[in-house]
Amino acid sequence: MAKREGIKDSYDLVVIGAGPGGYVAAIRAAQLGMDVACVESESREGGLGGVCLNWGCIPTKAMLESANLARHIKDGAADHGIRVKGYELDIGAAVTRSRQISDRLTKGVKFLFDKNGVMPIFGRAKLPGGKKLEVQLKGGASSTISASNIIIATGSRPKTFPGFEFDGERVVSSREALEIRKPPGHIVIVGAGSIGMEFADIFNAFGANVTIVEILPQLLPLEDAEIAGVVERSFKKRGIKVKKKTGIKSLEKLDTKLLVTVEGASGEEVIECDTLLMAVGRTPNVEDLGLEAAGVKLDDDGWIAIDELGRTSAEGIYAIGDVAGMPMLAHKASHEGIVAVEQIAGLPTHPLAREDVPSCTYCHPEVASIGRTEGQAKEDGHQVKVGKFPFSANGRALAAGAPDGMVKIVADAQYGEVLGVQMVGHNVTELIAETGLGRALETTVHEIAATVHAHPTLSETVMEAALAALGRPIHI
């Protein structure tokens, strides 16, 4: 059996996958004194960081910053007395920039591994049964490693529908879309979840015609309807076409164009475009892992079944992140990673409360939410008080030229418990943190309202929404 230099026969913990779930778990385990290795199959140089750093969170955010700047130059700069003439949009340069940022962060993960003494192993791992791993090493050799504990953090990949298979050039997933260096003339984006909405924002800003097709009656279907409405108005104002309650039927690929047949309330329609981005969801990476041999069971929806501490049906084997269920978010993956490791180490830990995972979409205007919406809270049987505060009444938002936005706090009428918060507007993905801490500490609207918030800041909208829930807002 060939062995790569440095790889040991056994470890206290082996983590499969170096995404935000896996790499965070590995670092935490090393901090706690465990002998840890992290196996990663991504063949690209560096390769650590998973979808998040390479093809997800980070590059999209980099592109969205570029898009935002483009929009400011186009629409906003003149108001500030800055007249820009003869500027050009080069999405290729923006892509290059986003790749540099990703690279820098993936190298950062390597640095953190070295610093903490995590052994990275580049190759594809499989579970042959028991607490063992077979790793097909990069370069062809293979290695068998035993581990006292195993964490599966293999993440997820984009999915699509039959008849709409990815071809990597014209019918693409988010991964290829992040490397489009020439703006499409017309891109149809199927799916108005976070990923679809962010790409619509990016391509619109770089001059493409964009059509969003969504089967449900609202954009961002998981968000509060009023909040989603604010985004929809803004998108339409910028010329993004929105087709709700519309399903895709078929695809015809011609030499020069794609013909996408969709069906909505007004019947069938054929849309001509040159690029089709399928953003209809992601599917967990559970294949070819040897889960059956290891005795790791899946739940009814195809994710690895875990308990609140990340334990699977097999003793000593844990699963975290996208492979272990919704919501598929990087911070959820990291949190689960820490919980699983602390559980392995026998430390008291803080199991994930799914209700307390904030969810953010970084299109413009941004959307952020946590906990229950007003409708959901009522379905749960709560008597609620909803406090709303518009950005148009906040000094900082006006100074930023961002009056479109609002904060909505759904509070329990009796005790003031913060059941949920929904936000839309400039920088709300930063504002949501306060309410996350609030929920973690079981803070009520009384304490949020009584907390001194600096003026002028957007955070005052949170305080005012809390006051509004108590029936006493000052500035509206």
Binding site: P348, E442, H446
Partner: protein, 415 residues
């Protein structure tokens, strides 16, 4: 040798005390027996003396802070002595337990009004005494009348969180001792912090009215003879400067009547009844922020003059908050007189361990039928509250009859 200044348990009911004033400051020389600090217990203000000599090296609990009994307040030691071990040990407990009396809260927030933490058994959710609970948990506990002290927190670091309250509510954890559920009507209000005394009153009375089944016997007594007697006595005492009050006569008479009815001079003690062989009469005295009942010991064997002198002295000390615990604890019977406020009659809440309390109304001129004719007589209504577990109606009525008869025929007392 270093010695500690400690918040001692100065009475059986005392669970916490407030540091009122440091008489000595850090660096001041201290002799054994010097008063170092004044503390407020649930009933009185006490002076705490140094147990050793040296210098007051360290003040650990600042003025106005309330801490559980047993907390080290300060350290007296020789100037160059190493006191780090004591400090370390005290710090492990003390700073966390300190709670400013005026706990800072937003106007709409409500803190449990029950005492902070029982000293002997630190709260499970307390890290050395401080109660850790989320704002939501506090609010829910407050509204549902659940004592946070009784709960074990399952949140981070033992914090009491929402699920603990919900679990407690379904398990039926007892309501806060002195707190009925507080309903938040939308009426503006001012928050008045509870003094130690007010907390003790709340605690004691709930212990009384809650578990003690009260019943009440009311009777009107003719006070003509008593008033006459008082006039004569005071005339004869004029030279000595002594003065007998009607209340003194009531105390004396009650004590005498009780010694004739020992079954009423009792306490219900769970699996037995204690029939006291001495009559110790508590006298309810209104003070600035509450009431307190100094006890006149062995009242039955004392003469009127002595009773008068002693009760005058006790009442004065009560008003100045200078009563020691032994001065106000353990009455076998209590008299509460609101006559001077013009109250005709009222009922009083039993003051344990006694099983009875006598509520005395104002003496008023009233038309009554005497020997078949209407006459104007000074009349006084009294109500005896009885703990029905120990005293039955007939027993109470018989005692009241003797009491009335003695007041109406003071000479009978001499017999």
């Amino acid at each position: 040798m270093a010695s500690r200044i400690v918040m001692s348990k100065l009475s059986p009911t005392m669970e916490e005390g407030r540091v009122l004033k440091w008489v000595k400051q850090e660096g001041d020389p201290v002799e054994s027996g010097d008063v170092v600090v004044e503390v407020e217990t649930d009933k009185a203000t006490m002076e705490v003396e140094a147990m050793g000599s040296g210098v007051l090296r360290k003040i650990l609990v600042q003025e106005d802070a309330t801490v559980p009994t047993g907390t080290t307040l300060g350290v007296v030691a020789a100037e160059d002595e190493d006191i780090s071990a004591i400090l370390e040990e005290s710090r492990a407990v003390a700073p966390a337990t300190v709670q400013a009396t005026a706990s800072v809260q937003g106007p709409a927030t409500m803190e449990p009004s029950a005492p902070v933490v029982p000293s002997a058994a630190p709260s499970p959710a307390g890290d050395g005494g401080r109660l850790k609970a989320s704002p939501l948990a506090k609010r829910m506990a407050d509204e549902r009348g659940i004592r946070l002290e009784a709960l074990r927190g399952t949140g981070p670091g033992g914090r009491i969180i929402k699920r603990d309250i919900e679990a407690a509510a379904s398990a039926g954890v007892p309501a806060a001792a002195a707190t009925a559920p507080v309903i938040d009507y939308d009426i503006p209000y001012e928050r008045v912090e509870l003094s130690q005394l007010r907390k003790a009153i709340a605690r004691n009375l709930i212990q009384s009215l809650g578990p003690i089944p009260h019943f009440f016997l009311t009777r009107e007594i003719d006070m003509g003879e008593v008033l006459k007697l008082r006039g004569e006595l005071n005339e004869s005492l004029a030279e000595s400067g002594a003065k007998i009050g009607v209340n003194d006569i009531i105390v004396k008479t009650a004590a005498q009547a009780l010694s004739e009815h020992p079954d009423v001079n009792v306490s219900f003690a769970g699996d037995h009844i204690r029939r006291f062989t001495r009559v110790d009469v508590g006298i309810a005295v209104a003070v600035r922020d509450g009431l307190i009942t100094p006890v006149l010991r062995d009242a039955a064997s004392k003469g009127l003059r002595q009773i008068s002198a002693e009760s005058r002295e006790l009442i004065a000390r009560a008003r100045n908050r200078k009563l020691a615990p032994e001065d106000y604890q353990g009455a076998t019977f209590t008299i509460s007189n609101l006559g001077m406020y013009g109250i005709d009659e009222f009922t009083a809440v039993i003051n344990p361990p006694a099983a009875t309390i006598l509520a005395v109304g104002a003496t008023q001129e009233k038309p009554v039928v005497v020997d078949g004719a209407v006459a104007i007589r000074p009349r006084m209504r009294v109500t005896l509250s009885c703990d029905h577990r120990a005293v039955d109606g007939a027993m109470g009525a018989e005692f009241l009859a003797t009491f009335a008869e003695m007041l109406e025929n003071p000479l009978r007392m001499v017999l």
